[in-house]
Amino acid sequence: MAPDLLAERSAPPAQAEKSLLRFITCGSVDDGKSTLIGRLLYDSRQLLADQVAALEAESRTVGAQGGALDFALLVDGLSAEREQGITIDVAYRFFETEQRKFIVADTPGHEQYTRNMVTGASTADLAVILVDARKGVLTQTRRHAYLVGLLGVRQAVLAVNKMDLVGFDPAVFEAIRAAFAPFAAEVGLTEVQAIPLSGLAGDNVTAPSPRTPWYEGPALLPYLERVKAGRDPTALPFRFPVQWVNRPDDGFRGFAGQVASGRVQPGDRIRVPRSGQESTVARIVTYDGDLAQAVAGQSVTLTLSDEIDVSRGDMLALAASAPETADQLEATLIWMGEQPLAIGRSYWLKLGTKTVSAQARAITARVNVNTLEAHAAERLAMNEIGRAELVLDQPVAFDAYADNRATGGFILIDRLSNATVAAGLVRQALRRADNIHWQALDVDRAARSTLKGQSPAVLWFTGLSGAGKSTIANLVEKRLHGMGRHTYLLDGDNVRHGLNKDLGFSDADRAENIRRVAEVARLMADAGLIVLVSFISPFRAQRQAARARFEPGDFLEVFVDTPLEEAERRDSKGLYAKARAGEIRDFTGIDSPYEPPLAPEIHVPTLSLAPEAAVEQIVAELELRGKLRAPDRGLDYTI
């Protein structure tokens, strides 16, 4: 270690250490949001001479203010969006005053970019919501307030912008303030400061404007400098998601992480909620020496006095106030993926430092962000917000998001694209007993199979006696079962012992045999099962009749293709010998024809394909056809 790094710290001047406020700005393309932020940067003297020179030059060439300083140019970064004239992503801006450093999440207000606003709000202590004084409180203003409230922001500035364009009329300002107040309360914004201002002209931005003598409140920047914003996370119960187990040698085993909430001291009794194991905090280790206490926000390394099982993903808590664990959660989801949320599809869920596998079992509601009304819904598409029931493959420790932002939020990750497809807010744990909350849903074929996380299908194995149909069908069923799929195998021989005991081998009886089996398979498919039928079924017409009973795409003909010589050579049941000897009449391949399929969905040439390889092929085909996930529902199904 460098001697310099160990040298004693000099006491820094007091003004070097400031407080930090993170806020989000919300407004539409035309509310003058970029201009206001640019103005804050400019007026708080964050801009240096060369940047101002660049701003002047750009204002003349591409500015929208007729050559005057266009502050929006300071914040509209990417050339694509400059060309479109709108901001299309979350940008982070920084400025500071004597008291505070500010991190501004600048997000666009356009409807299709809900995800950006939610992203920006997730780390914000406060929201600045812009309203154009000429337009008043719009639907989108309500939407912005709802979104930041949903993400747990409790304080907002209602920035009534462009007051210069309404002649600084106090009646206009008061009307907007009054219109917003009841809505703000409804979405959980408990503290709102309305400020009349002009980002373009600078009124009430950094100092009270002489043009609004009727307004007695603070200007924007002084308010942001002094507001007590955000909930104090140290007042919440202690939560410590373990990021990394630090084991430099056998003598040290520490758990590195950032205190999510609360505080901890050596000697505190802690618990691992996953296992219920308890121990005592021995040390709070940092590079700068051990601490007597660690509080929310600090990144430290804890050591415990006992050798208990702790690994990444565990959340340490005080034994007296440990969080719940559950493997079924009800959550609010803000969907961000290109593909809508698919019931029964498996996603990665990351909460704290824990990543588990999760499926949505049901969507219980979708919220209309314009009216705040919740409706029953069948799907959740990009930028939509809804409530869903999630089933996890193992329990996680969590708090309700309303209680703790740091341990109640999660993300969902698509397992194929690796994209982050949703932000989630835990509402509550679900017990096994109150699993199912189907709302306004008929229990139909789709509902039944959705519950099983698959789509109905019939694999119709056809081929000569001894071709290997039952062998392969058995292996396929085993494989599907192992994958957690719901299946049933109908085998010709077995069915003839029961259901079709009364049938012989005449042409009519053979046709009836197939009809009955096809009908049973249809009922089973309707129940949501993947049905495997292993029947010689030699005639095309009969197979066609069976196919006709199913929904298009459900019936998959599997031709187990073994040449007669090979099947006869194997003759595992000795039937060919008997048929050749004339002891069995109408035996397929000997004295009754076999009509091979002309266009089977799956072709299994057994001479060149081992049974295990055939299983791979068939399962892959099911996967490809979407049979191993819940059915996609049509748009028109949405209520």
Partner: protein, 315 residues
């Protein structure tokens, strides 16, 4: 709850008790460093020897203490680095007991690519961008820490902390993953990689204040000293060795200058200054009227150029 008089109480209520903005920035960076180590297969820290790298390295020492950072450092050397930078690099590696890998585009250098005769954009592409890609590829690194900050340049303001790169190392602003709370998605397909910026939310002033607070060692180039300089196109270029071809009429003169950023010496402008200590630098910055990148020849390009460079894979 606004109260124009009660500032102290407001400060305390806003943040966790005792945590200043530097404390919070530090804690966030440690969290990021640890997430990458926990989730990524082969991380590396790009070490460019400048002040941001110095801070990043210091944070890495903290994040994994008492263990050493569980990843190597990688320096992309162009061959035109200041000598004092290389000395500082080797000293840090020795004192901290860390592995520092050095990678250069030796082929391009052998082919005569240099900062004087090669067009500047091509020089940058070959000696920095391509060398970086080759260096990452050579060791199979899947995640690389960089010292980039969002306050540096407009296109950086929208960069994610975990910035996703295609197998061709390209940055597509449209496919970046949303970053919510402190939950980062580090999942990759084969061939893809991440650039991770633990200093995303730091400003230049934060970096200097932290250097002062933590007494982080820096190359002496940051401090004002008498140095031999020539003036070129408005930039003060320090004659760091005898490879700098002097133009007709150019005679190096000794001036007291320092650097605000470090890079290849023929391409990095110095500024006249008398700031010999970190305190003096901070004092000078508070009255400065020029931004940090102003001294970089590479950045005095048309607006949007940084975005283009990033899409090609520039860090």
């Amino acid at each position: 709850m606004w109260d124009g008089t009660d500032q102290t109480e407001a400060r305390l209520a806003c943040d966790s008790p005792r945590l200043t903005h530097l404390d919070r920035l530090e804690a966030e960076s440690l969290h990021i460093l640890r997430e990458v180590v926990a989730e990524c297969e082969r991380p590396v820290m790009l070490y460019s020897i400048g002040k941001d790298s110095a801070v990043m390295l210091h944070l890495a020492m903290k994040a994994f203490y008492p263990a050493k950072p569980p990843f190597p450092l990688l320096h992309i050397a162009s061959g035109w680095d200041f000598r004092a930078m290389l000395e500082h690099r080797d000293r840090m590696a020795r004192e901290l007991g860390l592995d520092i890998l050095v990678h250069s585009n030796t082929e391009a250098a052998a082919a005569g690519v240099n900062p004087f005769d090669t067009p500047l954009t091509e020089y940058m592409r070959l000696m920095l961008t391509e060398a970086l890609k080759a260096g990452l590829h050579r060791y199979g690194f899947t995640a690389a820490f960089g010292g980039g900050r969002r306050d540096e340049e407009k296109s950086r303001a929208k960069e994610r902390i975990f910035s996703f790169r295609s197998a061709q190392h390209r940055w597509d602003p449209k496919t970046q993953r949303p970053e919510l709370w402190n939950l980062y998605n580090a999942r990759l397909h084969k061939g893809e990689s991440l650039r991770v910026f633990p200093l995303s939310n730091w400003t230049e002033m934060d970096v200097w204040r932290y250097i002062r607070r933590e007494r982080i060692p820096l190359p002496e180039l940051y401090f004002a000293r008498p140095r031999p300089v020539v003036q070129r196109e408005g930039q003060l270029i320090v004659v760091d060795d005898d490879r700098l071809p002097l133009r007709p009429g150019e005679t190096p003169v000794t001036r007291t200058v320092r650097f605000r950023t470090l890079g290849d010496y023929p391409l990095t402008g110095a500024m006249p200054s008398t700031a010999e200590t970190v305190d003096e630098i901070i004092a000078e910055m508070l009255t400065s009227d020029r931004s940090e990148r102003q001294g970089r020849v590479i950045d005095r390009d048309a607006a949007g150029s940084m975005e283009r460079k990033k899409q090609e894979g520039y860090f």
